[in-house]
């Protein structure tokens, strides 16, 4: 009757974890990010100095054996401030971007899936949010809720939500017209089931890669909001704050802003590597090559 057709494919199933493991670049990215995170966590053990107390005798010193990254205009050790700053910068940017990714991604999928009026309403609200410059958005949030770390996270999340909504909506529009989604209707699945189990896996990769890029921007937004006094108040160290302070003395002491900028660069680079790897890992077609 019917022949059982032989399969011309490898029988072993490759797990997402194995893919991540096999990609060297993803490993490097993960390693960098883990090291930076660990350094932030164990900051007190990695430096003898205090990040806040000032030393008028050691102002703007060049990098040396005593101060690996030099000192700033208040005589504080830059290496120490970088370590402690990583705690706040990483926390704020990661939390804000992950929150924005979930909310914006969900809004984008809902808008793309239902279309029509729902789409119109959600996307116009997103457009309005997009039209506010980051600083104005920050001002609004802080004016309404007051300045704190939570509100800084909210302000950053609000500015990136519309970007995620846009990124999630576009693939949803194309995916929902595919026959496998029609097959879901034919099987009588609920809208929520279709969106979560059938559309989301096809949208996830794009959102994730964009997410790794936006963490960099979140660090930058945190810096500019802190700079105008809407975020973390000095003397609490943040990477953005260190760059801003260093910028004032850039000609006399270029090391301050340079090291902090390099730190942002390295973290963003590692996140991009991770984002790329994860996208490849969740796309079954790219597996195994």
């Amino acid at each position: 009757m019917i022949n059982t057709l032989a399969l011309n494919v490898k029988t072993a199933t490759v797990s997402t974890y194995q893919i991540l493991k096999s990609s060297k670049l993803t490993w490097i990215g993960t390693l960098i990010f883990v090291i930076v995170t660990l350094m932030a966590v164990f900051a007190p053990y990695l430096t003898p100095y205090d990040p806040i107390s000032q030393d008028p005798l050691a102002v703007l010193q060049e990098p040396s054996a005593l101060h690996w990254m030099g000192t700033d205009s208040y005589g504080r050790d830059v290496w120490t401030r970088m370590l402690y700053g990583a705690r706040i910068s990483l926390f704020i940017s990661v939390v804000a971007v992950v929150a924005a990714m979930i909310i914006g991604g969900a809004l984008g999928i809902v808008a793309g899936y239902y279309g029509g009026r729902v789409d119109m309403m959600i996307m116009r609200v997103m457009d309005i949010m997009l039209s506010f410059p980051t600083l104005i958005m920050g001002l609004i949030v802080v004016a309404m809720l007051g300045a704190s770390m939570t509100n800084l996270v909210i302000a950053i999340a609000l500015t990136v939500i519309p970007k995620f909504a846009r990124v999630a909506r576009a693939p949803t529009l194309s995916v929902k017209k595919r026959e496998y989604i029609e097959a879901c209707y034919a099987l009588g699945y609920s809208d929520i089931r279709i969106m979560v189990f059938h559309i989301l896996p096809n949208v996830f990769g794009e959102v994730l890669v964009i997410g790794s890029l936006w963490i960099a921007t979140a660090i930058r937004i945190e810096a500019s909001l802190s700079f105008i006094g809407l975020g973390i108040k000095p003397p609490t160290p943040t990477w953005g704050g260190i760059i801003r302070e260093g910028f004032n003395n850039f000609l006399d002491a270029p090391w301050i802003a340079t090291y902090a900028g390099l730190a942002v660069l390295v973290v963003v680079f590692s996140l991009n590597l991770i984002g790329d790897g994860v996208r490849d890992a969740v796309d079954p077609k790219l597996r195994g090559e």
Binding site: A6, L7, R178, A183, Y185, A186, L187, F197, P284
Partner: protein, 325 residues
């Protein structure tokens, strides 16, 4: 062919018009009558074919039945239930009893989902399987039935050939144990040798499971092999319904006749002449008066240009023509 006359699906005068806007400042609304006054009945255990050229609305008819496209008016009754007005429980039941196989096996399977879980999902949603182990067993049984290897369970769609994918799509449509399957060009995307395998599979499944099919195709050869009765669609209308031997031996509608003559035959005849239709297929957004076919019909009279014929009983079937043969 079974002689039972129990009607499983009764479609009465359904209509679907698509509206599209042309222009921006002062949009001109184009109305495309994709399904125009379509009525037919499908008997239990039969294969009901719908044949026609591209754009005649045959796929739209299938999707209307599946409620993938909402109809404008008309009535559809499936196993005694009005499809347009279902209670929640009835709707869940109908979704299980009425399934569809799509044309393109490449886009009808979610590329991000493994085959096994895709097939297990409906069993768990409708609580046919108590747990995952039981669902897996049912899926493996279906795999055997449609000729898929056991290892297919944890694979992704892209790891299969077109024919195997279509087997998976068939397995998905069978998983809820339906009574009627709409096969929308189910073999058109496959090459000829695979077509034969899939048709044979569908035929065997029909006998084992007492299924009925609505088989939508543009291929007269496939229709002849597979169907019991056929409806011929032209510009959104059904112009003829006949049993398969009759429609090939004595087509009543002039369009059916040209459709039959245009399909390739397996013997080489250098003297074969083609009775090519004159004129172009009219646009469904700008339909002619009278009979839609009169502009291309060799038998058209003045009466045909003015009055639209009804779908009338003729011999053993139905035909929509003023001058049937």
């Amino acid at each position: 062919m079974q002689t039972q006359d129990e009607i499983i699906l009764d479609v009465k005068k359904i209509n679907k018009t698509f509206h599209s806007k042309k222009g921006f400042i002062n949009p001109e609304v184009l109305k495309v009558r994709a399904v125009n006054d379509v009525s037919f009945q499908v008997k239990k255990g039969e294969v009901f074919g719908i044949v026609g050229e591209s754009g005649c609305g045959k796929s739209t008819i299938g999707k209307c039945i599946m409620d993938l496209i909402p109809i404008d008016d008309g009535e559809m009754t499936f196993k005694g239930k009005n499809l347009r007005n279902l209670s929640k429980e009835d709707r869940a039941q109908v979704k299980q009893d009425l399934q569809i196989i799509f044309q393109d096996p490449y886009s009808s399977l979610n590329p991000r989902k493994r085959i096994g879980p895709t097939l297990m999902e409906p069993l768990l949603v409708y609580k046919i399987a108590k747990d995952k182990e039981m669902a897996e067993e049912i899926v493996q049984d279906i795999f055997k039935e449609v000729g898929l290897p056991e290892q297919a369970f944890w694979k992704f769609p892209h790891e299969f050939s077109g024919g195997q994918r279509q087997r998976i799509a068939i397995a998905r449509s069978l998983i809820l144990n339906p009574d009627l399957i709409v096969a929308d060009e189910a073999v058109s995307a496959l090459d000829v040798s695979i077509q034969a395998q899939i048709l044979l599979l569908l035929k065997n499944l029909k006998q084992q499971r007492d299924l009925s099919y609505i088989f939508i195709s543009h291929d007269m050869g496939v229709i002849r092999y597979f169907c019991d009765r056929v409806a011929v669609a032209y510009l959104g209308q059904i112009v003829e319904i006949q049993s398969v031997p009759d429609i090939f031996e004595r087509p009543a509608h002039p369009y059916t006749k040209t459709l039959k003559e245009a399909s390739p035959v397996p013997s080489y005849d250098p003297d074969r002449t083609f009775n090519v239709l004159e004129g172009e297929l009219p646009s469904p957004s700008n339909l002619p008066s009278g009979c839609y076919f009169h502009g291309r019909c060799p038998k058209a009279t003045e009466h045909c240009t003015k009055v639209m014929p009804d779908l009338m009983p003729y011999k053993d079937g139905m035909v929509r023509c003023h001058h049937p043969e």
